[in-house]
Structure formats: structure tokens, C-alpha cells
Symmetry: C2
Subunit: 736 residues, 2 copies
């Protein structure tokens, strides 16, 4: 049978790839060389203050891992392999000083057969090259424009300059029978009416064997629905079988994410199981389709094209995609465990998200992420590792991109959750300057079509009709998101955001006490992105806060104000996008999580896994059914007419019964009735627009007013909108 | 040595593919079954009146060609092959009743080795299946949506329903040595600075031979610049050689279209030449780039992508592409000869065109077309055979499209003139309803990237930023093209048109005398597209003519008026597109030619090769350098202020000296000075905007006024604009 064993690792560095490191320290595998070195040197937490600056020199040296091997005794016909699922980024494997493997790219796993070549006590050296940089200066993300290394680690508005290097994925020795399963992949083709799947199994053996292959496919309840057995007599074996009425996989909120289990067993001549491979499969059809009526939008002459489709259809049903942009949950992906993903993805599911855009600036996640998304019905928009750069199609770059993208495709295409491939982030915008003609993107389209033709492919985001931005509660010209998004008409909002800080407690964990209040440039507020991130004032936007609230007197007050804006801004945008359905098919805020503690950021879950108030606002605005209101602005004053427009939003697959909404306005201790609406029954996945209320605002001694929508007998549909009641005149005439 | 011989062909039809035709008639090869049958039956010319209706039944029967073979005596080791460069559309080749070849697709050539299988006096049967139709009704272009058959022949606004079938390309017997050259293709890679080409030759032999391959590349003057010789010892042979400072190929108006000649000779053991293959190669680099400043156009939030690039760059120089849409010059492509192409392409070159868009609704042209475009510096935007349909990605269709597109790619990628690949016509518009996600278009992108990665690929036209239309001088809402295009801001105008009839003499050739005047529905005016083509009144637009001129009294008057509008409309649009350079990179009117005599059409050259007045207007507006004017409208009246804006347009690669333009207005016999402009020197490929003149129009006894621009000492820059001077009030208040 197959057995694994770990190597005993140390790591050291030198400036010469052929010189031995002056010193070695214990290494965690998977992990990152930076963390091993910092631990050995006793450095402070890189998340605190500006400790990360200490790591800068590590980008440019060679890191030598030494793995001492304890090779088990091999039975007859057994092989021992060195297996690595990923080394970051450019590497050589050496044995007795000889290079036995040479690779650029962290997403392509490799195996080296050591049988007869190595013995216990030998060491394998994994030499990791300096971080790839296409030029020496400037030291920013553009240095990543000729590699498949996630660009975010070269410095971003929410990520310090800190470039991970090292063995980031499981890496071990494995003893296997000479004939073993290299890969087993289940594929299927669904009948047009989804009533039947033609299921196939492709097994790739290390070499033909004497025994047999046994395949069992079990339904979600565990009952075997397909059982097949065949000779393992050729290196590639394909089995196929029909499956009538497969239970379909549905995204969160639309049904169960039904998963079947496939078990492939390799039997030897005496029918002993000598190798076993297990995977899961969700049956579903995914398409990008035009929004209803999108073909009928009148066009002036000269006429151009209709915008590309971005309405996702699962199993023939249009799904309003509501979710968030996912970034790496840690700076060092080697430290990510299944538990890291689980906590965050549970939050995502609980907040009614059904999609995450796995952003191209970040690392492509580990297997556990995709398994958990499969289980939770979280659709994935998965990008290749290109972001905000001009990735020129040089021969060397294209060769690496070709190999890395094929590895990513072969690994991830098995997952029901993966709904869309995308070439990368914001490549057709001025800060990237790539175009549809770029070889890198044509190559990705080609590889996706060759290896996974059924899944939609987008060259980048945004595309025509798709919107990115804005990333503040109020733009420089004084427009609030309330106004901007009510006037917008995108087919999808693939990025938008309002910034907010984490809790004051969280801030105290990484901002030195002396720097804590008030936030100032040149402190940890700045290194942790609250000041001068995207804009001089982002992401804390002290100017906007002061405009609405005046100067804050203490940290907790500042945090409360900023979190309030973030929550109400996102609540409005998500609900507005839902109101624009079906012309709009998608709303994904920037961003869900963050890779380290930001002092202010657009994330709704602070690192490592602490929901901000905005998280709960988003969860509310993404309930399948809710009573909602389109509100014109955030700041209101006495004498103005408060005029919310009432809505029932429904993106569930179920029709909704009629009902009654009562609208109340709470100001201080008072609750004043604004009106009521008897709404009609709603069809599945259909909204209903209601009346515009009209209420002259009285003088009141409060800073806040709350619109409360109460739905008779269905309190789960109730909503609250927390608005500013301002006794101060606005600083200027705009967006008051 | 290689020798060809023709077969002696007859053709007949039956409703049963396995039944012998009741009758056979002599067949012309290449040709079309319809023409053979019509000739034998003595039918009237299909171009006249509605004679073409007689052909309808021919779509749905099986056509059996019988080719009697006279096989030459074969020398030692010689082979005899049946060679066909194309049969339209679905075919079987049978010999003694046995199917020896079976194919769907007219663009994939085939060869059948008959050596030892056939003898003189044998006949080969080429069985042509009924025209492909994806459904029985409606009998329109949508029937072509599951085949690679040009959709135009299923009926179009300028093409009758008449679907060619038969052997449309050269088809013959050929005796060759057993080892012969199947294919020899020259490729090259240009250095970034264009100072050097790494030239390669790939030879595909029928089988390895004893002899040698001799390769000679000669420069345009005939001097050999590369000579190589190697053994013919393997089936595929690659030779490569550097070429310093290659003479570059330039499009019309930008320099010489320098062509090198490659000769590949197969030498036998005694160094006798036993096979010879010759081709030409033009060295040039082609790219689609963003227009200058296109990245800097400000974008509101939410921001979308920048439009895709459509500025063509040849050898690093942006080229303003000015040209026309090319359709098939004959309904039956089998009748097209090199002379057909030559006459039309000479006209294109003389009219200063540098680009033709080879439209996807039509047949992909024969080799002679591409050779002549290479020679004339006519850039080609070459589409695959998809147009105005939803080509669903069924397995069967994709298999044919894959094979056909690869054949097209392998044949045409050798031509310097081919600048852009395009998936097909208007596929992302409501009347087609394809999207970026369609498998057919992803497959074409994949095949282009695999087989010809350096050449730009567009999924379709229009794309974002590109305009199609309008196709009338004045739209239904009363806007003239003068107004529409001055307000438009497309990156390229890939289709636009104004209709016009051919000469009265031409009309008399195919409209029966009784139907000639006035044009009426239900006559040959309608079957020949002057009435109820795209719109009730197109393409003659009698309503617009009457609005400007009142009712016509006789044919010649009607023709003159309509041709006037066409000429002035196109003159305006082409010059306006040039004024919008560099934001606009391309202007291609719909269309250059036509496949049969249209009574009114958007073409500027009437079938078969008769320039309309609009042709000369276009030729004038496409001069490399000219004095031009932006004029607000076509119809003027006394008391209005005539206010042309003066321009010097220059898209030549040469700077222009300063000069003086005088503007005059001719009304009847009077020539009145409007003003003069001393224009400064112009840089290469740069326009200069001049003053707006202002001239109150006097009362005059004329129906026409002509703006004359005279350039001192450079009469070749002079321009004339013929406008309507109306003493009648306009019919309504719009566009007066």
C-alpha cells in the first residue's frame, strides 16, 4: 500500500546558488523561508507595526532547503517518490549536488522517482531562487509582469511589500506500487434537459499493471450508483456509464450543493487494493448568458456590439451572483490550512454569498478551498495569476504561463464550484495596458478551451458593461455611492467597496500605543493602509469622516463612524444591484477578506477572521428575500422630505406570498410611521417595486435616524437603514 | 517531372444519391452544377429579371459529376493523384461505385492517390450533396447556421437566393514522383527593430527521398539572397537562414509592397529537378494597437474596460486603414478567374484603398486574390465563413469548422496582405445572438493562435467602439450622414454606406423594358434589390430622393440624383473618419463590389466591374493628401450661412509643405470667393484643421452649388463638394 513520510527540513541562504549557506535553521514544510528565518532569529511578529520591513533583503538571495530522507524499506516492485505539490517560485532539486529537477512556477506539482537513486540518510536540496523581478526598479508590482508569481506580494494598497518564497504546498516522500494511479478524473456530459449524465472516468496509471481498476460512484446519500471494473492493462484507462436523473449541484440559496463521491481502487492480481483515489463530483451545467432583454436595448447608428454576457446560469436557471472578491487569507500561503479557509468560507455562506471572485493578484488557492466551496455552494470566478500589469508575451513568460495555467486548469476543472475562468484583473485598463490581442490572454483562452471547453472564459474584468469601483463612500466630486450606483447601469458590478477599520481591539494589536490616536502619516496607520493607500486619504478617508461627523475625539468613536459608513454604503450598493436585476446579473464587493491586519481596508472580514459591522450589513442585504428601500442619500436634515422607495427583493428560486410592509422612522426614542405597502405575490427570482414614501423631517435632537421596514408575520424580511441626521450644515453644497 | 491532365466531366442529378442521373450534360470544372445545367437547357441569363428563380429546385438534389480519366503512362516510381482544391459543399468521391473520399466543407483541398487503383478510361464520380440546411423553413440565411457554406447565397439584401454547388476550384489529375513536395512554406521572425529576418522553410514531402532539397530566396530585384541545400531524407525538412535588412512590404500609399520569391526544388540522385514549388513572401510586422491617447480617455465610476485596439500598425507605423468591404464578385465562385480579381483590385488600388474587409458572409477567395493583394499592397481583414447567424457549437458543426478554418489558415497565412483574422460578421448583434462564450468563436481564436499567433484576431465586427451603419443617406428620423458621422466617435467605421444605382445602360441590361421606369415593387427592381431590400425603400430610397429632388421624370434623372447622393454621402463619411484620426483608425464602406447586377446597392463598383460615380468620389476622398471641408449638411437655401470648416488631410508617410487653399462657391455660372487659408507645414500622417468660413447664401437660379477648394501649385490636392441648393422648402422641418 501507499505510505507517506516526511523529510526533516532545514533552510539557509546564500548569495551564490552553488555556495553552501553559512547557517541553517529548522524549516516548516509547507511554509515560507521568511517565517523559518524570522522564527530562528526571534524577530517580532511581521504583522505588527513595520516589522515586515526587516524581510526586504530576503527577496534577493538563494534559499537552500535541505531535506533529510528516511526512506522506508521497499517491498517487491515498490517505488519511492519525492512528491511536491508546489514550490514558490523558481527552484532546482539537487541530489548529491546534481540537479535532478528544474522548474519555474509554483502551481505545477512535480514528482521525482528516487527508487535506487537515493537511500536513507541522503538529503535532497531544494534550491529556491530569488523572487522573480522583470526589472530592478521601481520596486512595485510591475516587477511581477514577467512571471506567474502573484503580483500582490510586490506591494498593493492592502498588502505590504513581502514576497513569499519557499515550499508552500505539501511535499513528502511516498512509497507506491510500481503500477499506481497517477491521476483519476471524473468527467461528465449532461443531457440538454439535465435528466441524465454521461459520466466518464479517466485513469492515468504510472504504467500498465497486472490487476484491475474498480470504480465506484456514490450518490450524496452514500449509495453506489455506478460500479465498474476493468483491466489495468494500459497506461490510460477510460470508463463510462450513464447516470439517470443525477442530483444536481446548486449554489448557496438555490438548492443543495449535491456532491457524489468517486472512488477508484487499483486491485492487484489477488484483488488486494494497492492504491486508492477518491474525489467528489457535482453535476451542474454552467453558462454565461445574455440578460433578458439585453438584445433589445435600442442602439443608435453607427451601431456597435451588444455587451458580453455576464448573467450566470446554473442548470438552466439564471442566478443573481452576489458575493465578494476573495484575496489570499495570509501573506504566506504556505501557512494556510484547511481551517483558515473553513472559518472564512463558513462566514461567506452564512452571509448568503453565492460567489467569490478569486482575484488574479493573489495566489491560486489550495485544494481544500475548492472542496469547501463545492460543499457550500459557493460559486467561484477563478482568475489566473495576472493583475494590473502589462504581461508581455515573451517566449519565456508564455512558456511558464502555458505550463502553470494547464496545471491550474487540470487541478481545478474538477470542482463544481468553479464557474468562470478569467485571465486576470483589470488588464484592459490604463494601468495595465493589455488588450484582446495580447498573446498571454489568447494563450489562456486557448488553454481553457482545450482543457475545459464547457466553462465560460473571460479575458479579464472589467469587460464592456461590467463596472469596477468606486472604492469610497463619497467621491472627490461629492457624489455618494447612493447617487453613483442609482445612476449606473452595469451588467455586473464586479468590484466596488467602502472602506472601514477593524475593531479598536484589533487595531491595538498591531499599532503601537503611541501611534494609536489620532491616526497620522508615518505611523503604523500608514504601513497598514489607513493612510495613503490608493489615495492620500484612503483607506480610512478621514476627510470624508470629518465632513459627515466632525473630528473624532477618541479611537472608538472614529472606528464606529467609519464602520457605519462602510456598512450603509455596502448595504445600499448590494441592494441597488439587486434592484437592477435582471439587466444586472452580479454584485461582488471589494473585498471579503484580507491577508494581514489592515488599519482600514475595503474588506468586510478583518484578518484573520473577524467580521466588521459591514459584514452583517452585507449579510442582511443578501438575504434571499427582504424588504428594502432605495434611499437617495446618507445625510438628512430637518425640513427635507425623506422619500424612500420601497421594494421587495427576491432572488430565491421560490415564489413569495403577498404581504404588508410597514415603514417607520426612528429618531432618538421616537418611532414615526411613514406608511405601509401591501405588496403582491412575487414570482421566483423576481423583485417588486413599491411606492415612494414622503415624510417631511422634523427637528430632532439626534445624530442618527433609522428607517425600519417591518413585514407582517415575516420578521426575517425586516430591514433597518441607519442614516445620518445632521444638525450641522454640510461643509459644502455637494451631496448634503 | 510533374504533369497535370484534365478529366472530361459531365454532370447530372437525381433525388437518390445511389441512383444514376437520368441525364448527364457537359460540365465545366471548375464551375457550378447550376451553370452546366442551365447551359445545357438553354435557359436565359440568371442575371436578367427573375430568371434565377428557375434554379430553386437545384438546392435539394444530388449532383453527380463523372470525370473520365486519361491517365498518362507512369515512369518508374511515379504516382498519379486526383487533386481537388475544393468542392462545394458536401461530397463523396466514388470509383467503381466505392466511396474513396467523403468530406464536408469547400475550403479543404484533398488528394487521392490513384496509382494502381485506376486506369485510363475509368471514371471518377464526384457526388455533391444537396445544399446544407439546418432546417427546412424559413428559407433564409438561418439555414446556413450549421455549416461553413457562405451564408450570402441563402439570400441577402444584395444577393438572390441562389446556392452554388459543385466543383468550384481547380481539380485535375497530376503525375508526380513518389517523393514529391506536398507543401513548402516560408516563415519568418522579424527582429524588434525590423533590421533582420530569421527566415525558415518548412518542407513537407510525400515520403523521404534519395535526393536533395534546394531552396533559393530571391529579393524583389531577382537576386538570390538565401541559398540552401539539404538531404530530402526525412518527410519533414526545416531550413533556416538569417536575412539582414530585408526590404519590407508596405501597404498601398505607404511604400512598395516588396515581395521576395522562394523556390524549392527537389533534386533526384542525379541532381535533376523532379519537383518545383514557388511562392512569394513579404516581410512585414502587423499589430493592432491602441490609438494614441486611447488610454487617457477619462472614465466615470464604475469604470469599465478601454475599447479593444483597432489601429493597424505595419512595420511599427500606424496606418489609417481606408477601404471597403469586399463581397464575392460572382454568385458562382467557380466562375471567378484571376482576371475577375485583377480588374476589381486594380480599381481598388487606383482609388487609394489600402484595405479590404473580406466579409464573412461571402466565399473565402481563391489564391489569385491573395497574390494580387500582396502585389498591390491591399491589406486584408479576412473573415471566416460566419455571418449574421447564431452558429451553435454542436459537435458536428465544430468538427467541420475546425477542419475548414485550419485549411483556410494554412493557405492564407503565407500572404503579407492578410492583416487581420476575424471570426465573422455581426455575430454579437441582436440579429445573430452569438457571444464571446460561443464555442465556434473560441475555436477560431484557438486555431488562429495555434497556427498563426502573430496575426491579430477579432471575434467579430463590430466590437466595442467599432461602428457598423448607417446604410442610407438620411435616416428615418431625418438625420443626414453629415450629421450622424460628425457626432460619432468610433475607433473604426467598419461598415457604412450610401446606396446608388448603376448606370442607366447597366439597368437596361437586366431590367425588362416594360419594368424600367418608374421603379415599382414586384418588378426586376425588387428582385434586384432596389425595393424592399433592407428596408421597404432600400436600396433605391425613392422616398429620400423625392424629398430632396421631387419626383423623377425619367430614368437617367433618377440615376443621376441617386448617384449624386451616394457620392457625396461617402465622400463626407470617409473624410470625416479621416478627420477623426488618430482616435479613429479605420474607415471601410459597405461595399466595394457586388456578385450580380443590383438595380440599386451600396456598392461603389457595379457588377461586373463598372465604377459608379461614388467610386470616383471615394477615390478623391482617399487621396493621401487633400484639401477638405467639414460641411454641416447637404441641402442649403438662400439666406442661410454656409459655413464649411477647412482641413488638410494627410495620411501619407511624408510631411507636407505649407500652402494656401482658396475656397470658392460655384452657383450656376458664378464662382464666388469664400475665403482662403494659409496652412502650415504638416507632419507625416497628420491632419491640420483650418478656419470655419462664413458665407450668407444669395438667391440663385440653380439646383446645385459646388464648394471648390483650390490649393496653390498643388492642383492634385483640390476638392469639389456638390451640394443641393434648394428653392423648394423641405418636406418637413428636419434635416433641411
Amino acid at each position: 500500500m501507499v505510505r507517506k513520510s516526511e523529510l526533516k527540513w532545514t533552510v539557509g541562504w546564500s548569495r551564490d546558488p552553488d555556495a553552501a549557506p553559512a547557517k541553517r535553521v529548522p524549516a516548516a514544510v509547507p511554509g515560507a523561508v521568511q517565517l523559518d528565518w524570522a522564527a530562528a532569529e526571534g524577530w517580532g511578529d511581521y504583522c505588527c507595526a513595520d516589522n515586515f520591513r526587516q524581510y526586504a533583503w530576503m527577496e534577493d538571495v538563494y534559499w537552500s532547503y535541505l531535506g533529510e530522507m528516511d526512506i522506508p524499506d521497499l517491498g517487491p516492485g515498490e517505488r519511492v517518490l519525492f512528491v511536491s505539490k508546489g514550490v514558490d517560485y523558481r527552484l532546482q532539486v539537487r541530489h548529491h549536488g546534481r540537479v535532478i529537477h528544474d522548474q519555474e512556477g509554483m502551481f505545477t506539482p512535480f514528482e521525482i522517482d528516487l527508487t535506487g537513486r537515493a537511500q536513507s540518510g541522503d538529503a535532497l536540496e531544494v534550491l529556491v531562487f530569488p523572487a522573480p523581478k522583470s526589472h530592478a526598479e521601481p520596486a512595485d508590482r510591475s516587477q511581477a509582469n514577467q512571471s506567474c508569481k502573484p503580483a500582490v506580494s510586490y506591494g498593493w494598497d492592502f498588502h505590504p511589500r513581502l514576497i513569499p518564497l519557499g515550499i508552500w504546498e505539501e511535499t513528502y516522500l511516498e512509497v507506491r506500487p510500481v503500477c499506481h494511479v497517477r491521476d483519476a478524473e471524473v468527467g461528465y456530459r449532461l443531457a440538454d434537459d439535465l435528466s441524465r449524465a454521461d459520466v466518464s472516468l479517466h485513469v492515468d496509471l504510472s504504467e500498465p499493471g497486472e490487476g484491475k481498476i474498480r470504480w465506484t460512484l456514490s450518490d450524496p446519500s452514500g449509495s453506489a450508483v455506478i460500479q465498474r471494473e476493468t483491466l489495468a492493462a494500459s497506461q490510460t484507462v477510460t470508463l463510462s456509464a450513464p447516470l439517470d436523473r443525477p442530483e444536481l449541484w446548486w449554489p448557496n440559496g438555490q438548492g443543495d450543493p449535491a456532491l457524489y463521491t468517486s472512488v477508484v481502487e487499483l486491485l492487484d492480481a489477488s484483488r488486494e487494493v494497492v492504491h486508492r483515489s477518491q474525489s467528489r463530483v457535482g453535476f451542474r451545467r454552467v453558462r454565461l448568458v445574455m440578460a433578458p432583454a439585453a438584445w433589445d436595448v435600442p442602439m443608435d447608428v453607427p451601431a456597435t456590439r451588444c455587451p458580453p454576457p455576464i448573467t450566470l446560469e446554473i442548470n438552466g436557471r439564471p442566478i443573481f451572483c452576489k458575493g465578494s472578491n476573495w484575496v489570499a487569507p495570509e501573506i504566506f500561503p504556505g501557512t494556510i490550512t484547511p481551517e483558515t479557509y473553513r472559518a472564512l468560507l463558513d462566514l461567506a455562506k452564512q452571509a448568503n454569498l453565492n460567489m467569490l471572485r478569486s482575484w488574479g493578484g493573489a495566489v491560486v488557492n489550495k485544494d481544500a478551498f475548492f472542496e469547501m466551496c463545492d460543499e457550500r455552494g459557493i460559486l467561484l470566478w477563478q482568475e489566473f495569476p495576472l493583475a494590473c500589469n502589462r504581461y508581455e508575451g515573451t517566449e519565456g513568460y508564455l512558456a511558464v504561463l502555458d505550463r502553470e495555467s494547464r496545471s491550474i486548469l487540470r487541478r481545478l476543472r474538477r470542482h463544481a464550484s468553479v464557474a468562470i475562468w478569467c485571465g486576470g484583473n483589470e488588464l484592459f485598463n490604463p494601468w495595465s495596458r493589455m488588450t484582446d490581442q495580447d498573446a498571454a490572454l489568447r494563450l489562456l483562452n486557448r488553454n481553457c478551451f482545450d482543457l475545459d471547453p464547457e466553462r465560460p472564459f473571460l479575458a479579464t474584468s472589467p469587460l464592456m458593461g461590467i463596472g469596477h469601483g468606486c472604492y469610497v463612500f463619497k467621491t472627490m466630486d461629492g457624489r455618494e455611492v447612493f447617487e453613483i450606483f442609482a445612476a449606473a447601469s452595469c451588467t455586473a458590478y464586479a468590484e466596488f467597496g467602502c472602506p472601514g477599520p477593524p475593531s479598536a481591539d484589533a487595531l491595538r494589536r498591531f499599532i503601537p500605543p503611541a501611534e494609536l490616536f489620532p491616526p497620522r502619516p508615518g505611523t503604523a496607520w500608514e504601513t497598514h493602509h489607513a493612510i495613503a493607500a490608493l489615495q492620500p486619504n484612503s483607506h480610512l478617508t478621514l476627510d470624508i469622516l470629518e465632513d459627515y461627523f466632525g473630528p473624532a475625539e477618541y479611537l472608538e468613536q472614529l472606528v464606529e463612524w467609519a464602520q457605519w459608513l462602510q456598512a450603509e454604503g455596502l448595504r445600499f450598493i448590494f441592494e441597488e444591484a439587486r434592484r437592477q436585476k435582471p439587466a444586472c446579473g452580479m454584485a461582488l464587493n471589494w473585498c471579503f477578506n484580507e491577508p494581514w491586519p489592515a488599519a482600514a481596508n475595503l474588506s468586510i472580514v478583518a484578518w484573520p477572521c473577524e467580521p466588521k459591522p459591514a459584514y452583517y450589513a452585507v449579510a442582511g442585504s443578501l438575504r434571499p428575500v427582504l424588504a428594502g428601500a432605495r434611499i437617495g442619500k446618507f445625510r438628512w436634515s430637518a425640513g427635507e422630505v425623506f422619500d424612500p422607495e420601497l421594494w421587495i427583493l427576491n432572488d430565491s428560486p421560490d415564489p413569495q406570498p403577498p404581504g404588508r410592509v410597514e415603514a417607520l422612522l426612528r429618531m432618538g426614542a421616537d418611532e414615526m410611521p411613514l406608511g405601509a405597502w401591501d405588496f403582491p405575490p412575487l414570482e421566483a427570482n423576481t423583485n417588486q417595486r413599491g411606492p415612494v414614501l414622503s415624510f417631511p423631517l422634523p427637528e430632532a435632537h439626534t445624530d442618527r435616524m433609522t428607517l425600519i421596514l417591518r413585514v407582517a408575520d415575516r420578521p426575517e424580511l425586516d430591514s433597518h437603514y441607519h442614516l445620518l441626521y445632521s444638525r450641522r450644515p454640510p461643509r459644502d453644497g455637494t451631496a448634503s
